[in-house]
Symmetry: C2
Subunit: 187 residues, 2 copies
């Protein structure tokens, strides 16, 4: 018999862990900035659309409003510290790109680059910003997606090799573990 | 030197794995229905808001439009087959709730129940439906959240015990694996 307890409905961690990403913007002055985000997901398949939820006080928000573009960088175990720092330092006060020693991976369709070494990079053009609570939903079109050829199979990451970084809470991240494959015929 | 390849920007699997949920609705006729969803996430903290992306052709969409409520059920390893079936059968043709032998966990604020045995249940009231591509974003307020007392710690699932189910692609699911904890002072 399972016992349930009620928790604060403001505790969104109930919907974690979820993948942690680096979002890269390039200001009109050419300055690169990076933020960490895990409130990112696909929302439509045809046409393809992704959403990134961005806190309106964030430096990234200011840049996105001006340029309406960014890259979503899919990262892994080896990027955990970068993600932690990108998520706890502020772009208003710090040149995070420089501090973290990141190198750009040039984009084809937008000004904002990817992060060299990321597992994958999605070049996004923001179609619309929709305010929800304290954040804006950036509804965006994925213009181009690149992935590391050693880590991606047809239709998805090879999770035996791609240690996709997921955020749990605070300083706690988690990597993919056991795979469950539903046998054919089970339907 | 990492080699990158370009993939179809329509391949949203680049943003997977992500948690897989059961969304439960109750029609005006009292009929319960369940769908699987992994395009679900928090989008604002204050006030708390979650989003579920729902394909407009789905049976669940019809019911949500009428009732503007549902539960999000957080599930684990032991629910993998239920999630697979809930995601591949259609509520238009099948009484999935009965077929899957689900039992309701009564809600406090809405008519739609949770699924008995789920790791956690969030009672949601839909505030707004926003069309994006072929889906509608159901922006919702979490009214009440319950979790299994043996699986939840302060601010999050105990991933050593809660085998949170995540969807990768098709028949492939994955569970949380290695934890990475950023040491204090790293900032």
């Amino acid at each position: 018999m399972n016992r349930y307890i009620e928790i604060d409905p403001e505790d969104y961690h109930v919907l974690h862990p979820r993948p942690a990403y680096l979002i890269v913007t390039k200001g009109r002055d050419g300055r690169l900035n990076v933020m960490a985000a895990s409130w990112v997901m696909p929302v439509s398949e045809e046409p393809p659309r992704y959403i990134v939820s961005i806190y309106r006080e964030q430096y990234t928000y200011k840049i996105v409003k001006e340029t309406m573009e960014f890259t979503i960088n899919i990262v892994g175990e080896e990027h955990a510290e970068i993600v932690w720092k990108a998520g706890t330092l502020s772009g208003w006060k710090t040149d995070k790109w420089k501090l973290l020693g990141l190198e750009p991976l040039e984009s084809k369709h937008i000004g904002a680059p990817g992060v060299k070494g990321a597992y994958g990079v999605v070049e996004c053009r923001v179609e619309k910003l929709i305010p929800v609570g304290e954040c804006d939903l950036a509804i965006c079109e994925p213009l181009r997606t690149i992935v590391r050829s050693d880590l991606y199979q047809r239709y998805g990451w090879d999770l035996r090799r791609a240690k996709i970084l997921m955020h749990q809470r605070g300083r706690v991240f988690v990597l993919p573990g056991k795979l469950i494959i539903i046998p054919k015929g089970k339907r």
